[in-house]
Symmetry: D2
Subunit: 407 residues, 4 copies
C-alpha cells in the first residue's frame, strides 16, 4: 500500500466483496475509483450496479458497464474451440478464457480515464489473480496493480462485514453468513468451488448446479440437432444462422435441458496446489463435440495430429493466464491456419447428459472423406492395394535393421 | 508369390476368410500351414477352430489355440491406459492394441515350428496389415510375410465363395451374402466398419451394436462403482480384487448395462484415407475415466501436463502399428515412471451412456491434494498469499519488457 | 509402364542421366517430353542445356530454363531459417528445401503445356524421389509420375552408357566411369554421398569438398561481419542492402574463404535407412548463427522456447518432403508470427571454420534486453529482488507437496 | 528474518561473499552455522576453506568439504549429455547441472546434523537461487531457506566490505574493488557475466576467458581423438578407459589446447529477464559432438527424432532448476531407454575452436548403418526400389485428397 495511487479502475461486480473493495480503495489509497462491469453473459441484470457505484461516490462518467458478450464469444471462445482446448483432459476453460477480455477492457478504460492503477477482487490462492495481472502487465507494463485480498486485513467474513457496515455498504441478509461455495459465471460456463466442495471424495450436492438440469430429470427422448460450421466456427443451429453469442446462448439452452456439460474435477492450479471444482459448460460441451465432428470430415490428418499435440500446451497457456503472450499467439496462428477448410454440418444427439456426433457432411469443396477410396466394395482403381506392401516395407526397414541387431 | 515358402504360420480365426486363406496358402504356395488362434476375449468359443484346422489338413502339433487374455490386458491394455491414450481425441485403440500381441505370439510360434513365413487376413486398405507386419518385421527382420488380400485374385465375395466350394470349405448360409459391415472384437472392444456404415452422415443403425445396450434402454437409476488403483493400474472393483482380464470383463458388464462406450467416428488411417467406424468400448471407457480420476489426486502437475502432451504421439504410434518401436518404448518408460504414486480409489457414477467421476481418495502416502493449503477457510499459514505477488511479478516480467517495446 | 502418357515434363539438368531419361521417355512411353531446368544457384551455365534438349528433339516452346534463385531464397530458404531448422541436430536441409520449388514449377509447366505426367531423375533409395513426388501429388493429385530409376532396366553404369550410345547421346569422357561420389548443389549448399563416402569410419577425402576452402588453408586473421535483420530475415551485410539471393551469395563467398559450413553426417533417410553424406553450407551456416544471435536480443522467451520445441518436427517435415502439407504450413504460421520483432544487427567473427556471434544490437523498438533490469549495479528499482521469494515459493509448492508424500 | 533458526547449513566457498554470509547468519539469526563446500572440479584448493570456517567459529564436525567430482559427472553431467541437451540452441547448462547436486548434499548434511535451515549465496536476480531452492524444497519440503542477498542491507560492495571489516573477516586486496565480472566454475564449465559483459554489442574481452586458449593461438595442426561410448556414456579416450570425472578432465585439457567451447550468449533467465553471459565448456563441447556422432550410427530414427523433440523441454527443466521433478525424471527415463545400444567409437578432429566428427564405427551388435542397403552399387536385393512407389503413394494419399479439394 506504499505506492501513491491517483485513480484506479476496479473490476466491479456490484456484489458485496467488490463493493467493500471499492470503499477500501477510497479509504486506504485515498484515490478515485473508476468501476468497470462487464456483461459476459453471467446472467445477471447489470444496470443496478450503476446505482451502487453512484452511491459509493463514483462519478457517472467513471462508471463503465459494457456488454462484451459478442466480443467474448467471437474473439475468445471461438478461437479457443478451434483448438479443441481442454485442460488436464477435461476442463473447458470457461473461467480462464474470460479473464483476458476483462483485463483488456480494464486497461483500455484506464487509458481512457487516465488511471494509473487497476484492481481486481480475486483471492491470493487462485488462478484468477494471475490471469488478470498477466493480462494487465502484458497490455500496460507500467500499470500499478492492486489486489486487495493479498493486502488487506479483512481476512475473515466477519471482518469484511464489519467493514461494510462501518462504511454503510448494504449487506444482503443471505450474504451475512459464509456462502457454502464460491461461483464464477459467464456465457460459457459456471464454476463452483470451495467449502462444501473441498472434500474430493464427497459427491457434489445437487444444489450446487445452476446451469444444467440433472440428467436423471432430462427428457426421456433424445433430441437431434444440426450445427453448421464455416472455417472452424459454428454459424448456425438447425439451419438458423446465429451470431456467436446467440449461438452459444442457444446451445446453452439445449445443453441445460439435456443435462449436458457437468464436470467434477480435481485440477492443478498454476499457483501450485490442487483444487476441486465443479463446472457446468452446457453449450461448450456440445460445441466441442460438434467441432471435433466436423474436423473428422474436413481436416487433414497431418493438421489434426499436430493440433492434438499442440492442444495441451495451448490449453495450459490459457489456464495460466498467458492469452496475451507471443507463444499463445504463435499457437493460435498455427491452429487458425488449419481451419480454413473446416466447413460443413454436424448432426448431434443429445440425451441425458450425453452429446454424440451421429452424422457429419460437407460440401465437396471441403470434404476429405472419400467413399470411393475407402469402400469395401470395388473401388474402381481409386486405391491400389499393392501400394500397401511398399508402404509397409519401407516403414519397417529401420525396425528390421534394428531387429537384426538385437537378436 | 514368387518366393518359395516352406512353412507358414497363419493368424487363423476359423471363419470363412481365414479358412479360404488356409487352403489358398496350401494350394498356391504349396507350403505347410500352421494355424494360430488367439483368445483375446473376442467372446467366441475357440475349440471348434481345432476341428476346422484338422479338416483342412493341419497337423495336430501345428494347431495353436492360446488364451492370451491376461497377457493382453496386463501387458498391452493396462500400459496403454496408463497414458490415457486416445487417438484423434476419441478412439480408445481397441483394435490397434491387440495386433502387436498377435504378431508377437505368431513370430514365437514361427520360431518354435521352424516356419519361414507368417500370414494374416487383413485387407490392403486397412491399418491392420500395417500393424501386423510392422510387428512381424520388428520381431523377426528376416521373416517372410504373406498378405493374401493384397495378392490373390479372390477380390469379390462370389469368387471367394466359389473358391471355398471348390475346395470343400463349408460356407455357413448366413455367410453367403455380403455381411452388412465388418467387425473386430476383443476383450477391450468391438469395432464395426464398412458397407452400411460408409456414409458418415447416416446414423449408425441400432443392430450394429453388440457390446452395449442402448442408453435409452439402460436402467433409469444410476449405479455407483468404486475402483481401486495401484501404481497406475486398476486392481479392484467395489473392493473385490480382480486379475487384469477379470477386471476388464467386469467393467465390460457394467458398461454394457449402462450403455457406456459407444463411439461413431470418422478417423484418419495410417494408409492415408479417412474411414468411418463404430466402436464399443464399455469397460475401457469406464477405465479411462477412472484412471484420469485417480491421477487428479495423485499425479503431480508437471508429470500430468507432460503426459498430456506426449499422449497424442503415443496414441498415434499404437494406432500406426509401432508398438514394438524404440520411440513407443521411450514414451512408455516416461509414462510408467510417472505412475508409481497413482494409487487410490475412485468413485464413479454410471448412467445411461455416461460415466462420471464423483469422488476420489488416496492414502496420505499418495495424496497430493491438500485441503489445508487450498481451503477457503483459514489455512493456518499453509500458504502465504503474499507469495503470489512475487510469483506474478516475475512471470510477468518478460511480458512487461515486451509490452514496453510494442507500445 | 502400362499407363499411356501423352506429354511429360521432365526435371532436366542436361547431364548424362537426365539425357538418357529424356530419350528413354520418348522411346519407352512414346510420349512428348517437355524439359524443365531450374537455376537454383547450382553454379552451372544453363544455356547449353537448351541445345541438348533441342538435339533430343524437344520443341523450342517445350524447353523451360528458369532462374528461380530469388524465389528460392526468399520463399523457401528464408522461411526455413526463421525456424532455425536443422535435421537431426546438424543438417541444414540444403537439398530438401530445393525440391518443393522444383516440384511446384514443374507442375505449373505441366498445366501450361497440357502435360499429363511429370518425371524426375531421383533414384529409388533416396529421399528426393519422395520429396519430388509428394510435391507433385500435393499440387496436382491427378498427375502421373514417372520415376525411371525405379522402373527401367538400366540399372548399371555400363547399361546406361550402352543405351546412351545406342541413342546418340554424347557421353563425356569423364562420365564413362563411375563417379567416385554423387553430388547435389544449389545456392544454399552442395551435398556429396555414395561410393568413397560410404564407409562412415573413413574421413571424407579433401577432394570431395568444392564449396569451402579447407579451414587449415583459411586466413590466419579473423574477419568480422555485420548482418542486419528485419522481421526475421537477413537484409544487409556490412550495411549494404542485398536481395535474398545476392545476400546468400555474398555469405557463401565469406563462408568459403573461412572454411565454414562443412558437415560429415550419418543421417536417417525417410525411406528407412541410414546414409552417410557430406554437406557444405557456407552461407547458411553463417545465416543460422546470425539469426539465432538476433533472436537472442529480440525474441521473447516463450516464443523462443516454443520455436525450439517445434523446430525438430518442422525440420523433419521438410526433410521428408512435406513442404506442401497443412502441418508444415501450420508450423510456418506459428514461426512467422514470432518474427515480427526480430529486427536488429548481429556482429560475427569468422575464423578457420568457425562462425561466432560476438555482438548484437537492436533499436529500442525491438530490443528485449534491458541492462537496467539485469545489471549487477544498482538497478534503481527496475527489479524487486523480494519478488523472487514468492516466485520460488509458488513454483516449489507442488514439489513440496510431493516431497511431503514421498518421505 | 522473522523465523527462529537453530542451525543452518551454508553452501560455503570460503570467498568473501559467503564468508560475510557465514558471519551475518551468526549475527542476525543468532544460529549455529554448518559449512558445506563441494569440490565439483572448480579448480581451487579447498582445504584452506577449513581454516576459514574454523576461524569463523564453526565447529570441526560442522565443516563439510566433499569431493563430489565423480558423482557430479556420473549422475548429472552424463545423464544430461545422453539427451544432447542445449538451452536456447547453444548453452550446455554447465551451471544449471551443478546446482541440484549441491542442493542434494546440503539437505543430506542438514539431516545429518539436525539443521532446520539451509542458506546459499546466490543473488535475487539470477537463476541459481531458483535452482538451489527448488532443490531444497523438493528434497525437504519443510526446510527453511535463507537467501541473504534477498534479505540483507549489504546491497553495495562498500557496505559488504564494511561489514567484513567490522567482523574481522579478512578481505584480500584484489577483492576490495568490484570484480569486473562474476564467474562460476566446475568440471564442466566456467561462466562469466555482469559488469564488463553487460553490453551485448561489445565483444567479450580476451581476459575474461580462463578455461580455453584463444583459437588464434591454438596449434596450427589438427589433433585427432577417438572416444569410446558404452550405452550412451563416454568411457575411453584414445583407447584408455577413464572414470567419468577423469574423462571429462582429459577432454577439458584437449578442448583448452584447441580453443574449443567458447560461447557468447544472450539468454532468457527463468526469472524473466534476458542476460548476457560468456561460457567456456571445452570438454563438454567435444562430448556433445562425439555423442551425436555415435548416435548417428547406433540410434534408431524414431528414437532420435523423439529425443530431439523432447530435448528443448528437458534442457529448459534443468535450466529452471527442476532436476528433482517428476517431469525431468520422466524425460530421463525416456532418454535412458534409448541409449542401451549407443555403443561404439567416434573419431574427432580438433582444430582452432572447432570439433568435427570425421568417423564413427560400431560393433555389428550395435551398428544400424548398413552399407549393403544404402550402397549406390548393386545391393544384391537388400532393398527393393519398387517398394518406394507404394511408400510414396500412400504417404501422398491424404495430400492428393486434399489437393483434389483445394483446386
Amino acid at each position: 500500500m506504499a505506492e501513491k495511487i491517483k485513480r484506479v479502475v476496479l473490476a466491479y461486480s456490484g456484489g458485496l466483496d467488490t463493493s467493500v473493495i471499492l470503499k477500501w480503495l477510497q479509504v486506504e489509497y485515498g484515490c478515485e475509483v473508476v468501476t468497470f462491469t462487464a456483461d459476459l453473459g453471467q446472467g445477471e441484470e447489470l444496470e443496478p450496479v450503476r446505482g451502487k457505484a453512484q452511491m459509493a461516490g463514483v462519478k457517472d462518467e467513471h462508471i463503465f458497464i459494457d456488454d462484451l458478450r459478442e466480443e467474448f464469444v467471437r474473439d475468445y471462445v471461438f478461437p479457443m474451440f478451434r483448438a479443441n482446448a481442454v485442460y488436464e483432459g477435461l476442463y473447458l476453460l470457461g473461467t480462464s478464457i474470460a479473464r483476458p477480455l476483462i483485463s483488456k477492457r480494464q486497461i483500455e478504460i484506464a487509458h481512457e480515464v487516465g488511471a494509473d492503477a487497476v484492481a481486481h477482487g480475486a483471492t491470493g490462492k487462485g488462478n484468477d489473480q494471475v490471469r488478470f495481472e498477466l493480462g494487465y502487465y502484458g497490455l500496460d507494463p507500467d500499470i500499478k496493480v492492486i489486489a486487495p485480498w493479498r493486502e488487506w486485513e479483512l481476512t475473515s467474513r466477519s471482518r469484511l462485514i464489519e467493514f461494510a457496515e462501518a462504511h454503510q455498504i448494504p449487506v444482503a441478509k443471505d450474504k451475512r453468513g459464509e456462502a457454502p461455495f464460491s461461483t464464477d459465471a459467464n456465457l460459457l460456463h459456471t464454476s463452483s468451488e470451495g467449502k462444501v466442495l473441498e472434500d474430493p471424495w464427497e459427491e457434489t450436492p445437487d444444489y450446487v448446479y445452476s446451469r444444467t438440469d440433472n440428467p436423471e430429470d432430462a427428457p426421456d427422448t433424445p433430441e437431434y440437432v444440426e450445427m453448421d460450421f464455416e472455417h472452424g466456427d459454428a454459424v448456425a443451429i438447425n439451419g438458423v444462422a446465429l451470431s456467436p453469442a446467440n449461438l452459444l446462448t442457444k446451445l446453452n439452452a439445449l445443453g441445460k435441458t439435456h443435462g449436458i456439460g457437468r464436470l467434477d474435477l480435481v485440477e492443478n492450479r498454476f499457483v501450485g496446489m490442487k483444487s476441486r471444482g465443479m463446472y457446468e459448460t452446457p453449450g461448450g460441451t456440445i460445441l466441442l463435440s460438434a467441432h471435433r465432428g466436423i474436423e473428422q470430415l474436413t481436416l487433414d490428418r497431418g493438421a489434426m495430429h499436430l493440433k492434438d499435440e499442440l492442444m495441451p500446451r495451448y490449453a495450459e497457456l490459457i489456464y495460466n493466464g498467458l492469452w496475451f503472450s507471443p507463444e499463445r499467439e504463435m499457437l493460435q496462428a498455427a491452429i487458425d491456419s488449419s481451419q480454413a477448410g473446416v466447413t460443413g454440418t454436424v448432426r448431434l444427439k443429445l440425451y441425458k447428459g450425453s452429446v454424440d456426433v451421429v452424422g457429419r457432411k460437407a460440401d465437396v469443396a471441403y470434404n476429405l472423406y472419400s467413399q470411393d477410396v475407402v469402400t469395401f466394395e470395388d473401388d474402381a482403381g481409386a486405391y491400389d492395394q499393392r501400394d500397401a506392401e511398399g508402404f509397409i516395407k519401407l516403414n519397417a526397414l529401420r525396425l528390421r535393421l534394428l531387429g537384426r541387431r538385437t537378436r
